[in-house]
Symmetry: C2
Subunit: 192 residues, 2 copies
Amino acid sequence: MSTRKSRERQATLIDATIEVLVESGLTAATTRAVTQRAGVGTGLLNHYFRWPELRAAAWQALFEEVAKDQFEQEQTPQIVMERYFREAFVEAARPYWRLWIEATELAASDKPMRNALKSIQARMQDGLARVLSDGCESGSWRLPDPEASALRLGALYDGLAGLLISGISPVSPDSAEKHLRKAFALECGAEQ
Amino acid sequence: MSTRKSRERQATLIDATIEVLVESGLTAATTRAVTQRAGVGTGLLNHYFRWPELRAAAWQALFEEVAKDQFEQEQTPQIVMERYFREAFVEAARPYWRLWIEATELAASDKPMRNALKSIQARMQDGLARVLSDGCESGSWRLPDPEASALRLGALYDGLAGLLISGISPVSPDSAEKHLRKAFALECGAEQ
DNA sequence: CTCGATTTTGAGCGATTGTTCAATTAATAT
DNA sequence: ATATTAATTGAACAATCGCTCAAAATCGAG
């Protein structure tokens, strides 16, 4: 067994899967689309992966990057939160809302996706909680329970993203952002 | 054309579809499961409906009942909200979270479901907004903008339900309920 | 160059889906 | 009772899906 080209091939397939996921979503993505995108035969995918595993692996790799960009950077809590609010619901982030919501649903029946979602969900929530906590220590805001606030803000984010991807009117990306900011303000004690 | 048994048959099929949706979810439900449940041949379903239309019609009928039970009853705002909080995340409501989240995702690609979701979403949000508004007028609580609060509470509900159906740990039904109550308290100005 | 091992291919399998339509059954009118 | 119309059936169809596997291509050691 093993590694002349195999590692390289696996990486190629994961990258191709990420691309397909971003433009087709978790449910519409197929193995054939992935192999075609990667420029390999259909059999090669099954030689290295099973579809549920590959799909979950690609999803997780994608969102590890997102989590890193969003929370794990060396900047002041204010700046991180400001970026979080400003970039939360911009049109460019739409594929990610969709993949997140789809993961939420798939996780109920797909074990690899459940593990991936559990890992990323924890990472996202911890990242947000840490930023919120750092902001408390640096005096940028006051929060009685940063972890609880992180959970509520994260859940509100999910709910707003759900409203947006469903193509239903009453919320626009702009108003969604304002609601997220407002919720944060309420968590902080309605000051400002 | 028309109506010796046809209306009756359509109602039978819709009822059977509701049952299948509740126990299998929107995505796993199939036409064969519905016809089998209704005790009719596979061809009959297609004589009266197309699957996307039937599925959306059954979903809408189901959630019109839910909306009625939840918000459109003659009781004091406090009692309505208390029931809302208490019954939001009990285990018995789980099929409804699931169907709601699945609808959110399906609506992106399924026009009938999008229309059904739009209708029900508006009804739910209006119902909650009205209860919140009534509570302001009766002096039960104070809210600067009941409609905005209804939107945020509804979105938070969706997000918490998403966390619950994904089978991921950090939130239990009990703690989800507490977070929803807490968010309401914050909307009201953190009193109590 | 040769031979064995590894990598890669893609036609085809089996399962599942919503849907069709000629045939059959049931109901109504004359 | 008979004929006409409506209601109902279910085997078969076409489209997808993930996946298999014998065959072909490619690579590396001797």
